[in-house]
């Protein structure tokens, strides 16, 4: 049998972030899914996907939060916790950095309307914000 390319293990960790972002997931947990040490995992993940695992997980959570802001009337606090974040203040700061407005302003700017029936996996892939520099990365590569 051919050896498994290392990127396949990194993809498993990326899938884990997509599927379990609601849980208290962190980089060491993702690294375990890829059978790598956290430091090596972060370097290899960035090499393969162009961003750190922390950036990926955070932007996945922000993408899901944005979807909930657009599609539900959940409170901002509930949405913050629902996407796996534990601090409303940090959530609001990260959200504003990525979407250039507060969660409340984002919701007001995106009223519910009929949308095309695009598969969820496509929506999640295309709607995830580009990761920029997050201050969180300094301590959580």
């Amino acid at each position: 049998m051919s050896p498994v390319p290392p990127e396949r293990h990194l993809l498993r960790a990326k899938d884990m972030a997509d599927a379990h972002f609601r849980e208290p997931l962190d980089v060491p947990a993702l690294a375990r899914a890829a059978y790598l040490s956290p430091a090596h995992f972060s370097r290899e993940f960035r090499r393969a996907f162009g961003e750190t695992p922390h950036q990926y997980l955070l932007t996945r959570r922000l993408e899901r939060a944005a979807a909930l802001l657009r599609g539900t009337d959940y409170s901002i606090c509930d949405i913050c916790f629902d996407v796996g974040l534990r601090s409303v203040g940090s959530f609001t700061t990260s959200f504003r950095r990525v979407y250039h407005m507060s969660p409340a302003a984002y919701r007001a700017a995106h009223p519910a309307r009929e949308r095309a029936r695009v598969p969820t996996c496509v929506l999640q892939a295309y709607a995830r914000p580009h990761s920029s520099s997050f201050r969180e990365d300094r301590n959580a590569a």
């Binding site: 049998m1 051919s2 498994v4 390319p5 290392p6 990127e7 396949r8 990194l10 993809l11 498993r12 990326k14 899938d15 997509d18 599927a19 393969a48 996907f49 949308r115 029936r117 598969p119 969820t120 996996c121």
Partner: protein
């Protein structure tokens, strides 16, 4: 004009592993398994869902003379990184199919979820190809 879609191709990392996955785990049937010595032991391997004519060819990523080593390596990495596209299936019962496939060891990327278009779930094959299965509204 075009009449019918007969084959779709997916790249696979290992044909034997893929064949076992698509038949034993996903329940597809083997359609063709032909090795051609005069073509460098090229192996034409196809599977399909019982009752549906369209086949899936499980294609190994070739080296020279088809692709140079760099190109083969790039495709291999893209496949392993999940960047190779996907296929969409339907199912009569997404939750039941999910439980059956999970029991067989299929790697799911998403549990069944209610969506505007039905209930769907996502999974991968051992190579990294991404698939969806959707239970359409009755």
């Amino acid at each position: 004009m075009l009449k019918q879609l007969t084959y779709v191709q997916v790249w696979v990392h290992d044909q034997d592993e893929a064949l076992a996955f698509y038949t034993d785990k996903l329940g597809m049937e083997l359609r063709e398994d032909v090795t051609v010595p005069e073509m460098g032991n090229f192996r034409w391997l196809s599977v399909g869902l019982p009752g549906q004519e369209v086949s899936i060819t499980l294609m190994a990523i070739p080296g020279p003379p088809v692709f140079d080593e760099d190109t083969r390596d790039q495709i291999q990495k893209l496949l392993a990184k999940g960047a190779s596209g996907g296929l969409f299936f339907t199912t009569d019962d997404a939750q039941r199919s999910y439980e059956e496939l999970k029991e067989r060891g299929v790697e799911f990327t998403q549990e069944p979820m209610q969506q505007p278009y039905g209930i769907d779930a996502g999974f991968r094959d051992p190579s990294g190809n991404h698939f969806r299965m959707t239970q359409l509204p009755s």
